[in-house]
Amino acid sequence: MALVELREIRKTYHLGGETIHALDGVTLDVQAGDFTSIIGPSGSGKSTLMHILGCLDSPTSGSMSLDGVNIHDATPRELAKIRGEKIGFVFQFFNLLPKLNVAQNVELPLIYQGISSRSRKEKSMHALKLVGLEDRAKHRPSQLSGGQQQRVAIARALVNDPRIIFADEPTGNLDSHTGEMILETFCKLHQEGRTIMLVTHDPEIAALTPQKIEIRDGKIALDVDAKLAGKESRFKLRGSPEPNP
């Protein structure tokens, strides 16, 4: 059984009397350990797909399960619990709380699970070590560079030891060099066996990931199998033109 199973997921919005099909029957499986990129032009529905995958939104119809739990009929409360326990998010704009220091930001998901303060501190320090920022624990997000902030966000996504990590354009707001470092961090996490889904509009970044899904007009256009991209070729692919069907 796949970690994430989507069956005929549809999402419709009503905007001023017009019905928009953001997702129009998406079916896909994500296996544990996959490193998948979702690509597509803006307006293709890739963000909507990620929101549904990330339990931030519920589909209009279709069924979905994550780690064996049915999501499509879960209550908002249950969705919040799943987000807190099984999912880690990395956003384009980092989304750290400016009033909290780095360690407190990383602790945030644990607070809502009722984990004791001591255990929260241990876990957040551990997560910061994974991204190499343990010496910045007392800093404010505003005192860090963009790349460091994004690594803090990754630490926050890791702190609850999630089953799957979603990253929405994690390099979109960074210069290419820093973006590369962030992508390296993701690759490292993938090698450690984590399941990662990465949303991007950049085919070069998508080329780094073993699995690729392309979304067009709310439908899956292409599902590239893992075997097509070898792990050794990741960085060689960078900068070279990507065959784009």
């Binding site: 929101h51 990330g54 931030l56 939104d57 908002p76 409360r77 919040a80 619990k81 987000r83 807190g84 326990e85 998010f89 956003f91 989304n95 750290l96 709380l97 009033k99 945030l108 998901p109 607070i111 809502y112 699970q113 009722g114 303060s117 926050r156 609850n160």
Partner: protein, 461 residues
Amino acid sequence: MNLLDTILVGIKEIWAHKFRSMLTMLGIILGVSSLVAMSALVKGMENGMKEALVAMGGLEKVRVEAQDDLPVYQKHLADQAPGLLMQDVHALQSGAPLIENVTPIVEQHGYRSRINITYRNKLARPWRIYGTWPGILELEDHRIEHGRMFNEIDNEMARSVCVIGVEIRNDLFGDPEKTGKEIIPVGEVIQINGQPFTIVGMFEHYMTEKERKEKELARLEALKNPQPQGGVVRDKGRSGSGPSGYVFRLKNNSVFIPLQTMMIQFRAAAGADETADPKLSGIYMKVKDISVLETALQQIRNVLQVSHNGIEDWTFRTEEDLADGIQLTIANFRMSGVIIAAIALVVGGIGIMNIMLASISERVREIGIRKAVGATTSDIFIQIIMESLVIALLGGFMGLGVSVALVHSITTFTPTENNPVITIEAMVFAFACSAMVGMIAGMIPAIKASKLHPIQALKYD
């Protein structure tokens, strides 16, 4: 998310906006402090009025007084009206088991009856002179400080003895505050309208709680920086004005003599045929238990109806009217106080709600992030309510402090008849009110915040 974490987050949030939060708290501070201060003022007033009530003999006291004006339907019987007589006293003693300490009184108005008391070359005008029985001591809550009350033998023998109030002593022998020494006039012979009376006792100096405190304070200050004695001392005038002060001053300006003495020495020429006028001014008595007041009054009524042949030339007076008046006055003051404080608290609550709404619209993104990492609707709801509650409770707490200072400064700068009293009940009530205001004010912002959709909140700029 556990409660302690939530409270800590709330306090941090408030600390992050110190000035704004302080301004918001101001409304609650004012509300709570005005609530406590108002209740303290009303409590002080109530205490003063109750003090006066007790000084008059309390609720159990019933006065039967002679009434010259008969009811319209008995006008033609006026010449047969017997008036209050000693026989009524005996009838009440034997016929009304629910009352005790039946005491007849003959009262002379000091000024109207031109009563002069002299001692050597000093003159005193008493406000009242009473001929009565020793039982009056209990009925009017008198306390003897020096000497003794006249007793039944003094009464039987119609001895020329008297017990005086402190002001009479001050007029005749000198005020200890001016002469610097306490004069105990017991044993001295004074002239009441030219007739010699021996002072056998003197009452204590009756004064309101406030006067007592002022005296105490003055004494302490005098100890600290003693003034040179001697020379002419300025008369500072009479103190203790106001409705409750009157009772105390009346008592201080009274003279009591035995009833028989009064009858023989002051009433002999008043009646027809050069016999003493036997009419009493009143009969005072005490109801054994306040719970049977109505029944006791009926007994008195029955007895007097018989002894007066049904002629209603007498009337009842209880202190119930006064007590009711006190209750009503207090209730009115309390109501207006509560309304003022309630308005202040509502305004404070609106302030909190306003600031919480502003705060959440600033923090839409934060709420989105918190939701994305696992905060439930109720986590967010509780967080916002807690912030609002913390503001209100801090405000409430400061308000209690301010109220103490406020009441203190009221007593210092504008001394009133009765010192305001801050009660624990008022403080607890005001604090509970501030908590409630915080909860209610936080409700709408909290619902708004918790209902935010995580995606929309994350996209919000």
